[in-house]
Symmetry: C2
Amino acid sequence: MGTTQLDSVQEPKYWHLKTVLSEALDSEFSVGEILPNERDLAARFGVARATLRQALEQLELEGRLQRRRGVGTTVAPPRVGVAVGGEQHAWPGGPGDAWQATDCVQQVPPAAVAAALETGADEPVHTVRRARTSGGQRVATELLYIPADSVPGLTAIDAPSGPARARTVLRELHRLEPEGQDRAVELGSARADDARELDRLPGSPVLVVTTRFTAEGRTAALSVATYRADTCRLTFGDTAGVEIHHDPERRAS
Amino acid sequence: MGTTQLDSVQEPKYWHLKTVLSEALDSEFSVGEILPNERDLAARFGVARATLRQALEQLELEGRLQRRRGVGTTVAPPRVGVAVGGEQHAWPGGPGDAWQATDCVQQVPPAAVAAALETGADEPVHTVRRARTSGGQRVATELLYIPADSVPGLTAIDAPSGPARARTVLRELHRLEPEGQDRAVELGSARADDARELDRLPGSPVLVVTTRFTAEGRTAALSVATYRADTCRLTFGDTAGVEIHHDPERRAS
DNA sequence: CAGTGGTCTAGACCACCCC
DNA sequence: GGGTGGTCTAGACCACTGG
Protein backbone atom coordinates (compact mmCIF):
# COMPACT_ATOMS: atom_id res chain seq x y z
CA MET A 1 0.00 0.00 0.00
CA GLY A 2 1.06 3.55 0.56
CA THR A 3 1.35 6.16 -2.10
CA THR A 4 2.11 4.77 -5.51
CA GLN A 5 3.48 8.11 -6.63
CA LEU A 6 6.50 9.69 -5.04
CA ASP A 7 6.36 13.43 -4.68
CA SER A 8 9.94 13.47 -5.90
CA VAL A 9 9.75 16.98 -7.30
CA GLN A 10 7.30 19.17 -5.47
CA GLU A 11 4.97 20.95 -7.81
CA PRO A 12 2.93 23.92 -6.58
CA LYS A 13 -0.57 22.91 -5.59
CA TYR A 14 -2.19 25.39 -7.92
CA TRP A 15 -0.20 24.01 -10.84
CA HIS A 16 -1.27 20.48 -10.17
CA LEU A 17 -4.82 21.71 -9.62
CA LYS A 18 -4.77 23.45 -12.95
CA THR A 19 -3.76 20.24 -14.69
CA VAL A 20 -6.49 18.26 -12.99
CA LEU A 21 -9.11 20.87 -13.78
CA SER A 22 -7.94 21.13 -17.34
CA GLU A 23 -8.38 17.41 -17.87
CA ALA A 24 -11.78 17.52 -16.23
CA LEU A 25 -12.80 20.31 -18.59
CA ASP A 26 -11.83 18.19 -21.56
CA SER A 27 -13.61 15.08 -20.46
CA GLU A 28 -16.49 16.01 -18.20
CA PHE A 29 -17.72 19.43 -19.24
CA SER A 30 -19.04 20.97 -22.39
CA VAL A 31 -18.81 24.55 -23.63
CA GLY A 32 -20.98 26.97 -21.70
CA GLU A 33 -21.50 24.67 -18.76
CA ILE A 34 -21.30 26.21 -15.30
CA LEU A 35 -18.70 24.91 -12.87
CA PRO A 36 -19.35 24.51 -9.15
CA ASN A 37 -18.64 27.71 -7.25
CA GLU A 38 -15.19 28.50 -5.97
CA ARG A 39 -15.91 27.69 -2.32
CA ASP A 40 -17.25 24.26 -3.19
CA LEU A 41 -14.43 23.52 -5.60
CA ALA A 42 -11.82 24.55 -3.05
CA ALA A 43 -13.41 22.33 -0.42
CA ARG A 44 -13.62 19.42 -2.85
CA PHE A 45 -9.90 19.66 -3.61
CA GLY A 46 -8.95 20.38 -0.02
CA VAL A 47 -7.25 23.70 -0.68
CA ALA A 48 -7.84 27.30 0.33
CA ARG A 49 -10.01 29.35 -1.97
CA ALA A 50 -7.07 31.60 -2.89
CA THR A 51 -5.14 28.60 -4.14
CA LEU A 52 -8.03 27.38 -6.22
CA ARG A 53 -8.42 30.87 -7.65
CA GLN A 54 -4.79 30.85 -8.74
CA ALA A 55 -5.52 27.78 -10.85
CA LEU A 56 -8.73 29.27 -12.26
CA GLU A 57 -6.93 32.49 -13.15
CA GLN A 58 -4.46 30.59 -15.29
CA LEU A 59 -7.17 28.62 -17.03
CA GLU A 60 -9.00 31.86 -17.75
CA LEU A 61 -5.78 33.38 -19.11
CA GLU A 62 -5.50 30.44 -21.46
CA GLY A 63 -9.02 31.00 -22.69
CA ARG A 64 -10.44 27.82 -21.18
CA LEU A 65 -12.73 29.42 -18.63
CA GLN A 66 -14.81 32.51 -18.35
CA ARG A 67 -15.62 33.99 -14.95
CA ARG A 68 -18.29 36.58 -14.30
CA ARG A 69 -18.95 38.22 -10.97
CA GLY A 70 -22.40 37.48 -9.63
CA VAL A 71 -22.91 34.71 -12.18
CA GLY A 72 -20.29 31.99 -11.99
CA THR A 73 -17.53 30.24 -13.89
CA THR A 74 -18.32 28.73 -17.26
CA VAL A 75 -16.42 26.68 -19.80
CA ALA A 76 -15.26 28.99 -22.59
CA PRO A 77 -15.62 28.20 -26.28
CA PRO A 78 -12.42 27.89 -28.34
CA ARG A 79 -10.78 31.20 -29.13
CA VAL A 80 -12.05 33.16 -32.11
CA GLY A 81 -9.58 33.83 -34.88
CA VAL A 82 -9.66 37.51 -35.77
CA ALA A 83 -7.88 38.64 -38.91
CA VAL A 84 -5.48 41.48 -38.28
CA GLY A 85 -2.98 41.68 -41.06
CA GLY A 86 -4.87 40.47 -44.10
CA GLU A 87 -4.88 43.29 -46.59
CA GLN A 88 -1.57 45.04 -46.78
CA HIS A 89 -1.62 48.68 -47.76
CA ALA A 90 -5.24 49.48 -47.05
CA TRP A 91 -6.62 52.37 -45.05
CA PRO A 92 -8.69 51.85 -41.94
CA GLY A 93 -12.35 52.26 -42.72
CA GLY A 94 -11.97 50.93 -46.24
CA PRO A 95 -14.14 48.23 -47.82
CA GLY A 96 -14.28 45.00 -45.86
CA ASP A 97 -13.05 46.67 -42.70
CA ALA A 98 -14.35 44.86 -39.64
CA TRP A 99 -14.42 47.96 -37.46
CA GLN A 100 -17.26 50.28 -36.62
CA ALA A 101 -16.58 53.90 -35.71
CA THR A 102 -18.36 55.10 -32.61
CA ASP A 103 -16.93 58.55 -32.01
CA CYS A 104 -14.42 61.12 -33.11
CA VAL A 105 -12.96 64.07 -31.27
CA GLN A 106 -10.04 66.39 -31.85
CA GLN A 107 -7.65 66.31 -28.94
CA VAL A 108 -4.04 66.27 -27.83
CA PRO A 109 -2.77 62.67 -27.93
CA PRO A 110 -0.55 60.98 -25.31
CA ALA A 111 3.09 61.99 -25.61
CA ALA A 112 4.16 58.60 -26.99
CA VAL A 113 1.59 58.87 -29.77
CA ALA A 114 2.59 62.41 -30.63
CA ALA A 115 6.19 61.26 -30.95
CA ALA A 116 5.27 58.46 -33.33
CA LEU A 117 3.11 60.81 -35.40
CA GLU A 118 5.91 63.38 -35.47
CA THR A 119 3.49 66.10 -34.41
CA GLY A 120 4.06 68.66 -31.71
CA ALA A 121 3.51 67.52 -28.16
CA ASP A 122 0.57 69.89 -27.68
CA GLU A 123 -0.88 69.62 -31.15
CA PRO A 124 -4.40 68.17 -31.27
CA VAL A 125 -5.12 65.33 -33.69
CA HIS A 126 -8.31 63.67 -34.87
CA THR A 127 -9.01 60.74 -32.58
CA VAL A 128 -11.46 58.15 -33.84
CA ARG A 129 -12.84 55.52 -31.49
CA ARG A 130 -13.83 52.29 -33.11
CA ALA A 131 -15.07 48.89 -31.96
CA ARG A 132 -14.83 45.45 -33.43
CA THR A 133 -17.34 42.67 -32.96
CA SER A 134 -17.02 39.01 -33.82
CA GLY A 135 -19.66 36.38 -33.32
CA GLY A 136 -21.95 38.87 -31.60
CA GLN A 137 -19.33 39.73 -29.02
CA ARG A 138 -17.21 42.84 -28.65
CA VAL A 139 -13.63 41.66 -29.11
CA ALA A 140 -11.61 44.84 -29.49
CA THR A 141 -11.59 48.61 -29.13
CA GLU A 142 -9.33 50.97 -31.01
CA LEU A 143 -8.12 54.52 -30.90
CA LEU A 144 -7.10 55.81 -34.29
CA TYR A 145 -4.99 58.96 -34.34
CA ILE A 146 -4.98 61.03 -37.53
CA PRO A 147 -2.94 64.24 -37.65
CA ALA A 148 -4.59 67.26 -39.26
CA ASP A 149 -1.99 67.14 -42.05
CA SER A 150 -3.38 63.83 -43.27
CA VAL A 151 -6.86 65.23 -43.89
CA PRO A 152 -6.26 68.71 -45.31
CA GLY A 153 -9.63 68.87 -47.07
CA LEU A 154 -11.55 68.60 -43.82
CA THR A 155 -13.80 71.56 -43.09
CA ALA A 156 -14.44 72.68 -39.55
CA ILE A 157 -18.06 73.22 -40.47
CA ASP A 158 -19.00 69.54 -40.39
CA ALA A 159 -20.21 67.80 -37.24
CA PRO A 160 -17.41 68.44 -34.71
CA SER A 161 -17.66 65.01 -33.12
CA GLY A 162 -19.55 61.74 -33.15
CA PRO A 163 -19.80 58.87 -35.65
CA ALA A 164 -20.65 61.18 -38.55
CA ARG A 165 -17.47 63.12 -37.94
CA ALA A 166 -15.52 59.86 -37.83
CA ARG A 167 -16.81 58.86 -41.24
CA THR A 168 -15.91 62.24 -42.68
CA VAL A 169 -12.36 62.06 -41.33
CA LEU A 170 -11.84 58.54 -42.69
CA ARG A 171 -13.26 59.55 -46.08
CA GLU A 172 -10.76 62.38 -46.30
CA LEU A 173 -7.93 60.08 -45.23
CA HIS A 174 -8.72 57.77 -48.14
CA ARG A 175 -7.73 60.49 -50.60
CA LEU A 176 -4.10 59.77 -49.75
CA GLU A 177 -2.21 57.03 -51.53
CA PRO A 178 -1.34 54.33 -48.94
CA GLU A 179 2.33 53.39 -48.95
CA GLY A 180 2.78 50.83 -46.21
CA GLN A 181 2.17 49.88 -42.63
CA ASP A 182 4.08 48.39 -39.70
CA ARG A 183 2.49 46.54 -36.92
CA ALA A 184 3.50 45.47 -33.42
CA VAL A 185 1.76 43.16 -30.94
CA GLU A 186 2.37 43.10 -27.23
CA LEU A 187 0.72 42.08 -24.01
CA GLY A 188 -0.97 44.75 -21.93
CA SER A 189 -3.64 45.15 -19.31
CA ALA A 190 -6.97 46.76 -20.00
CA ARG A 191 -7.45 50.38 -19.03
CA ALA A 192 -10.67 51.18 -17.19
CA ASP A 193 -12.43 52.51 -20.29
CA ASP A 194 -11.37 49.67 -22.56
CA ALA A 195 -12.31 47.14 -19.91
CA ARG A 196 -15.82 48.57 -19.77
CA GLU A 197 -16.24 48.34 -23.51
CA LEU A 198 -14.87 44.82 -23.64
CA ASP A 199 -17.02 43.65 -20.73
CA ARG A 200 -13.98 42.75 -18.67
CA LEU A 201 -12.51 43.95 -15.40
CA PRO A 202 -9.85 46.65 -15.45
CA GLY A 203 -6.43 45.07 -15.66
CA SER A 204 -7.54 42.06 -17.66
CA PRO A 205 -4.90 40.86 -20.10
CA VAL A 206 -5.25 42.26 -23.59
CA LEU A 207 -3.28 42.08 -26.80
CA VAL A 208 -2.31 45.56 -27.92
CA VAL A 209 -1.84 45.91 -31.66
CA THR A 210 -0.15 49.12 -32.76
CA THR A 211 -0.23 49.94 -36.46
CA ARG A 212 1.43 52.81 -38.21
CA PHE A 213 0.10 53.76 -41.62
CA THR A 214 2.42 55.69 -43.90
CA ALA A 215 1.73 57.86 -46.93
CA GLU A 216 3.77 60.48 -48.74
CA GLY A 217 6.77 59.48 -46.66
CA ARG A 218 5.10 60.44 -43.39
CA THR A 219 3.09 58.70 -40.70
CA ALA A 220 -0.44 59.35 -41.88
CA ALA A 221 -2.30 57.57 -39.10
CA LEU A 222 -1.65 55.51 -36.02
CA SER A 223 -3.93 52.84 -34.62
CA VAL A 224 -3.78 51.39 -31.12
CA ALA A 225 -6.14 48.44 -30.91
CA THR A 226 -6.88 46.48 -27.74
CA TYR A 227 -8.08 42.88 -28.14
CA ARG A 228 -9.42 40.62 -25.39
CA ALA A 229 -6.58 38.18 -24.83
CA ASP A 230 -8.81 35.52 -23.32
CA THR A 231 -11.11 35.10 -26.31
CA CYS A 232 -9.03 36.17 -29.31
CA ARG A 233 -6.43 34.56 -31.51
CA LEU A 234 -4.98 37.16 -33.87
CA THR A 235 -4.37 35.87 -37.37
CA PHE A 236 -2.04 37.28 -39.98
CA GLY A 237 -1.11 36.35 -43.47
CA ASP A 238 -2.53 34.74 -46.57
CA THR A 239 -5.60 32.93 -45.36
CA ALA A 240 -7.75 32.42 -42.32
CA GLY A 241 -4.97 31.45 -39.94
CA VAL A 242 -3.79 28.30 -38.31
CA GLU A 243 -6.31 26.24 -36.40
CA ILE A 244 -4.16 24.84 -33.63
CA HIS A 245 -6.12 24.89 -30.46
CA HIS A 246 -3.75 25.86 -27.77
CA ASP A 247 -3.33 23.38 -24.96
CA PRO A 248 -0.38 24.43 -22.81
CA GLU A 249 0.87 21.24 -21.27
CA ARG A 250 0.39 19.29 -24.44
CA ARG A 251 1.67 21.66 -27.07
CA ALA A 252 4.75 19.59 -27.54
CA SER A 253 6.86 16.59 -26.89
CA MET B 1 -9.38 70.57 6.24
CA GLY B 2 -10.63 67.07 5.79
CA THR B 3 -10.09 64.99 2.73
CA THR B 4 -9.85 67.04 -0.39
CA GLN B 5 -10.68 64.03 -2.52
CA LEU B 6 -13.99 62.22 -2.24
CA ASP B 7 -13.79 58.48 -2.70
CA SER B 8 -16.83 58.80 -4.93
CA VAL B 9 -16.07 55.67 -6.93
CA GLN B 10 -14.19 53.08 -4.97
CA GLU B 11 -11.21 51.80 -6.83
CA PRO B 12 -9.51 48.58 -5.73
CA LYS B 13 -6.48 49.25 -3.58
CA TYR B 14 -4.17 47.25 -5.79
CA TRP B 15 -5.27 49.29 -8.80
CA HIS B 16 -4.55 52.57 -7.10
CA LEU B 17 -1.29 51.14 -5.82
CA LYS B 18 -0.29 50.15 -9.32
CA THR B 19 -0.86 53.69 -10.54
CA VAL B 20 1.18 55.17 -7.74
CA LEU B 21 4.01 52.71 -8.27
CA SER B 22 3.93 53.26 -12.00
CA GLU B 23 4.39 56.98 -11.54
CA ALA B 24 7.17 56.41 -9.05
CA LEU B 25 8.92 54.16 -11.55
CA ASP B 26 8.78 56.91 -14.16
CA SER B 27 10.08 59.65 -11.94
CA GLU B 28 12.21 58.15 -9.20
CA PHE B 29 13.78 54.99 -10.54
CA SER B 30 16.01 54.10 -13.43
CA VAL B 31 16.26 50.89 -15.43
CA GLY B 32 17.85 48.04 -13.52
CA GLU B 33 17.43 49.65 -10.13
CA ILE B 34 16.28 47.39 -7.29
CA LEU B 35 13.04 48.24 -5.50
CA PRO B 36 12.57 47.81 -1.76
CA ASN B 37 11.45 44.30 -0.89
CA GLU B 38 7.78 43.36 -0.86
CA ARG B 39 7.38 43.35 2.91
CA ASP B 40 8.80 46.84 3.23
CA LEU B 41 6.79 48.18 0.34
CA ALA B 42 3.58 46.71 1.72
CA ALA B 43 4.27 48.26 5.11
CA ARG B 44 5.07 51.61 3.53
CA PHE B 45 1.76 51.69 1.70
CA GLY B 46 -0.18 50.23 4.61
CA VAL B 47 -1.50 47.18 2.79
CA ALA B 48 -1.12 43.44 3.11
CA ARG B 49 1.68 41.87 1.19
CA ALA B 50 -0.78 39.97 -1.03
CA THR B 51 -2.34 43.24 -2.11
CA LEU B 52 1.01 44.77 -2.90
CA ARG B 53 1.89 41.66 -4.88
CA GLN B 54 -1.25 42.02 -6.97
CA ALA B 55 -0.05 45.44 -8.06
CA LEU B 56 3.48 44.18 -8.76
CA GLU B 57 2.11 41.29 -10.81
CA GLN B 58 0.31 43.68 -13.12
CA LEU B 59 3.34 45.87 -13.53
CA GLU B 60 5.40 42.82 -14.36
CA LEU B 61 2.77 41.73 -16.90
CA GLU B 62 3.10 45.11 -18.53
CA GLY B 63 6.83 44.73 -18.76
CA ARG B 64 7.66 47.47 -16.28
CA LEU B 65 9.15 45.27 -13.58
CA GLN B 66 11.17 42.11 -13.37
CA ARG B 67 10.99 39.93 -10.29
CA ARG B 68 13.41 37.17 -9.45
CA ARG B 69 13.12 34.85 -6.50
CA GLY B 70 16.00 35.16 -4.09
CA VAL B 71 17.15 38.38 -5.73
CA GLY B 72 14.52 41.10 -5.74
CA THR B 73 12.38 43.29 -7.93
CA THR B 74 14.06 45.46 -10.53
CA VAL B 75 12.93 48.07 -13.01
CA ALA B 76 12.70 46.47 -16.44
CA PRO B 77 14.09 48.01 -19.61
CA PRO B 78 11.61 48.87 -22.39
CA ARG B 79 10.38 45.88 -24.32
CA VAL B 80 12.52 44.58 -27.16
CA GLY B 81 10.97 44.62 -30.61
CA VAL B 82 11.43 41.22 -32.22
CA ALA B 83 10.66 40.87 -35.89
CA VAL B 84 8.28 38.06 -36.63
CA GLY B 85 6.68 38.59 -39.98
CA GLY B 86 9.33 40.37 -41.99
CA GLU B 87 10.15 38.23 -44.98
CA GLN B 88 7.11 36.64 -46.47
CA HIS B 89 7.53 33.27 -48.14
CA ALA B 90 10.83 32.22 -46.62
CA TRP B 91 11.67 28.91 -45.00
CA PRO B 92 12.74 28.65 -41.38
CA GLY B 93 16.49 28.29 -41.15
CA GLY B 94 17.07 30.40 -44.24
CA PRO B 95 19.53 33.30 -44.50
CA GLY B 96 19.00 35.99 -41.89
CA ASP B 97 16.96 33.72 -39.68
CA ALA B 98 17.27 34.76 -36.06
CA TRP B 99 16.81 31.25 -34.69
CA GLN B 100 19.36 28.70 -33.60
CA ALA B 101 18.56 25.00 -33.78
CA THR B 102 19.41 23.06 -30.63
CA ASP B 103 17.97 19.64 -31.25
CA CYS B 104 15.96 17.45 -33.58
CA VAL B 105 14.10 14.23 -32.93
CA GLN B 106 11.56 12.19 -34.83
CA GLN B 107 8.42 11.70 -32.78
CA VAL B 108 4.65 11.62 -32.78
CA PRO B 109 3.37 15.19 -32.43
CA PRO B 110 0.43 16.33 -30.25
CA ALA B 111 -2.93 15.55 -31.79
CA ALA B 112 -3.68 19.19 -32.65
CA VAL B 113 -0.40 19.45 -34.55
CA ALA B 114 -1.01 16.21 -36.43
CA ALA B 115 -4.40 17.54 -37.50
CA ALA B 116 -2.91 20.77 -38.83
CA LEU B 117 -0.19 18.86 -40.66
CA GLU B 118 -2.76 16.46 -42.10
CA THR B 119 -0.67 13.50 -41.02
CA GLY B 120 -1.93 10.43 -39.25
CA ALA B 121 -2.45 10.72 -35.51
CA ASP B 122 0.31 8.22 -34.76
CA GLU B 123 2.69 9.19 -37.51
CA PRO B 124 6.04 10.53 -36.30
CA VAL B 125 7.35 13.81 -37.72
CA HIS B 126 10.70 15.57 -37.52
CA THR B 127 10.61 17.89 -34.55
CA VAL B 128 13.24 20.61 -34.44
CA ARG B 129 13.80 22.60 -31.28
CA ARG B 130 15.13 26.09 -31.78
CA ALA B 131 15.87 29.08 -29.60
CA ARG B 132 15.95 32.77 -30.26
CA THR B 133 18.13 35.30 -28.51
CA SER B 134 17.96 39.06 -28.61
CA GLY B 135 20.27 41.43 -26.81
CA GLY B 136 22.03 38.56 -25.08
CA GLN B 137 18.81 37.24 -23.61
CA ARG B 138 16.79 34.21 -24.56
CA VAL B 139 13.45 35.57 -25.77
CA ALA B 140 11.72 32.63 -27.39
CA THR B 141 11.71 28.88 -27.90
CA GLU B 142 10.19 27.05 -30.81
CA LEU B 143 9.09 23.61 -31.85
CA LEU B 144 9.13 23.13 -35.59
CA TYR B 145 7.22 20.15 -36.93
CA ILE B 146 8.18 18.84 -40.36
CA PRO B 147 6.38 15.82 -41.79
CA ALA B 148 8.50 13.19 -43.48
CA ASP B 149 6.81 14.01 -46.81
CA SER B 150 8.39 17.45 -46.81
CA VAL B 151 11.94 16.10 -46.70
CA PRO B 152 11.90 13.04 -48.98
CA GLY B 153 15.61 13.17 -49.68
CA LEU B 154 16.51 12.63 -46.05
CA THR B 155 18.55 9.52 -45.35
CA ALA B 156 18.17 7.64 -42.12
CA ILE B 157 21.93 7.18 -42.04
CA ASP B 158 22.68 10.72 -40.90
CA ALA B 159 22.89 11.66 -37.27
CA PRO B 160 19.51 10.59 -35.85
CA SER B 161 19.18 13.55 -33.53
CA GLY B 162 20.89 16.68 -32.27
CA PRO B 163 21.77 20.01 -33.89
CA ALA B 164 23.48 18.39 -36.86
CA ARG B 165 20.32 16.47 -37.65
CA ALA B 166 18.31 19.70 -37.37
CA ARG B 167 20.51 21.39 -39.97
CA THR B 168 20.16 18.43 -42.32
CA VAL B 169 16.37 18.45 -42.03
CA LEU B 170 16.17 22.19 -42.66
CA ARG B 171 18.51 21.92 -45.64
CA GLU B 172 16.28 19.27 -47.20
CA LEU B 173 13.21 21.40 -46.49
CA HIS B 174 14.73 24.26 -48.46
CA ARG B 175 14.57 22.18 -51.65
CA LEU B 176 10.81 22.83 -51.74
CA GLU B 177 9.44 25.96 -53.34
CA PRO B 178 7.80 28.04 -50.58
CA GLU B 179 4.25 29.09 -51.43
CA GLY B 180 2.96 30.97 -48.45
CA GLN B 181 2.49 31.09 -44.72
CA ASP B 182 -0.22 31.98 -42.21
CA ARG B 183 0.42 33.09 -38.75
CA ALA B 184 -1.58 33.38 -35.54
CA VAL B 185 -0.71 35.03 -32.23
CA GLU B 186 -2.37 34.29 -28.93
CA LEU B 187 -1.74 34.52 -25.22
CA GLY B 188 -0.64 31.41 -23.40
CA SER B 189 1.16 30.36 -20.26
CA ALA B 190 4.61 28.83 -20.28
CA ARG B 191 4.88 25.08 -20.02
CA ALA B 192 7.46 23.80 -17.55
CA ASP B 193 10.09 23.11 -20.23
CA ASP B 194 9.65 26.41 -22.04
CA ALA B 195 9.70 28.25 -18.74
CA ARG B 196 13.05 26.73 -17.92
CA GLU B 197 14.52 27.75 -21.24
CA LEU B 198 13.15 31.26 -20.98
CA ASP B 199 14.33 31.70 -17.39
CA ARG B 200 10.79 32.24 -16.15
CA LEU B 201 8.48 30.40 -13.78
CA PRO B 202 6.04 27.86 -15.19
CA GLY B 203 2.76 29.55 -16.03
CA SER B 204 4.32 32.90 -16.93
CA PRO B 205 2.46 34.68 -19.70
CA VAL B 206 3.85 34.06 -23.16
CA LEU B 207 2.88 35.00 -26.68
CA VAL B 208 2.39 31.88 -28.76
CA VAL B 209 3.03 32.39 -32.46
CA THR B 210 1.83 29.56 -34.68
CA THR B 211 3.02 29.58 -38.28
CA ARG B 212 2.00 27.22 -41.04
CA PHE B 213 4.30 27.00 -44.04
CA THR B 214 2.76 25.72 -47.26
CA ALA B 215 4.36 24.25 -50.37
CA GLU B 216 3.01 22.18 -53.22
CA GLY B 217 -0.50 22.78 -51.93
CA ARG B 218 0.21 21.07 -48.60
CA THR B 219 1.30 22.09 -45.13
CA ALA B 220 5.05 21.61 -45.36
CA ALA B 221 5.98 22.65 -41.84
CA LEU B 222 4.40 24.00 -38.69
CA SER B 223 6.10 26.22 -36.15
CA VAL B 224 4.90 26.87 -32.61
CA ALA B 225 7.02 29.61 -31.07
CA THR B 226 6.75 30.80 -27.48
CA TYR B 227 7.89 34.35 -26.72
CA ARG B 228 8.31 35.91 -23.28
CA ALA B 229 5.36 38.26 -23.04
CA ASP B 230 6.97 40.46 -20.41
CA THR B 231 10.01 41.44 -22.45
CA CYS B 232 8.93 41.13 -26.07
CA ARG B 233 7.02 43.26 -28.52
CA LEU B 234 6.38 41.31 -31.70
CA THR B 235 6.78 43.36 -34.86
CA PHE B 236 5.33 42.65 -38.28
CA GLY B 237 5.41 44.39 -41.58
CA ASP B 238 7.63 46.54 -43.73
CA THR B 239 10.19 47.92 -41.33
CA ALA B 240 11.31 47.70 -37.76
CA GLY B 241 7.93 48.21 -36.14
CA VAL B 242 6.21 50.96 -34.26
CA GLU B 243 7.99 52.44 -31.29
CA ILE B 244 5.09 53.25 -29.02
CA HIS B 245 6.03 52.44 -25.51
CA HIS B 246 2.99 51.01 -23.90
CA ASP B 247 1.71 52.85 -20.86
CA PRO B 248 -1.67 51.48 -19.93
CA GLU B 249 -3.41 54.28 -18.16
CA ARG B 250 -2.06 56.86 -20.56
CA ARG B 251 -2.43 55.17 -23.89
CA ALA B 252 -5.30 57.44 -24.74
CA SER B 253 -7.59 60.29 -24.04
C1' DC C 1 23.52 32.07 6.42
C1' DA C 2 20.16 35.94 5.90
C1' DG C 3 17.15 37.95 2.60
C1' DT C 4 14.32 37.63 -1.40
C1' DG C 5 10.16 36.43 -3.93
C1' DG C 6 6.71 32.26 -4.38
C1' DT C 7 3.09 29.52 -2.25
C1' DC C 8 -0.57 28.71 0.93
C1' DT C 9 -4.05 29.29 4.61
C1' DA C 10 -8.56 30.65 6.89
C1' DG C 11 -10.87 33.77 7.44
C1' DA C 12 -13.66 38.58 6.21
C1' DC C 13 -16.21 41.90 3.55
C1' DC C 14 -17.69 43.90 -0.90
C1' DA C 15 -19.83 44.49 -5.72
C1' DC C 16 -22.61 42.47 -8.73
C1' DC C 17 -26.37 39.49 -10.78
C1' DC C 18 -30.63 37.22 -10.73
C1' DC C 19 -34.70 35.82 -8.63
C1' DG D 1 -32.04 38.21 -0.41
C1' DG D 2 -29.08 34.74 -1.52
C1' DG D 3 -25.37 33.35 -4.28
C1' DT D 4 -21.50 34.46 -7.23
C1' DG D 5 -16.79 36.02 -8.08
C1' DG D 6 -13.49 40.10 -6.59
C1' DT D 7 -10.74 42.20 -2.94
C1' DC D 8 -8.19 42.19 1.26
C1' DT D 9 -5.94 40.74 5.60
C1' DA D 10 -2.29 38.79 8.73
C1' DG D 11 -0.16 35.56 9.28
C1' DA D 12 3.04 31.00 7.93
C1' DC D 13 6.34 28.24 5.46
C1' DC D 14 9.12 27.14 1.29
C1' DA D 15 12.63 27.65 -2.66
C1' DC D 16 16.03 30.12 -4.36
C1' DT D 17 20.03 33.45 -4.45
C1' DG D 18 24.02 35.45 -2.86
C1' DG D 19 27.71 36.55 0.23
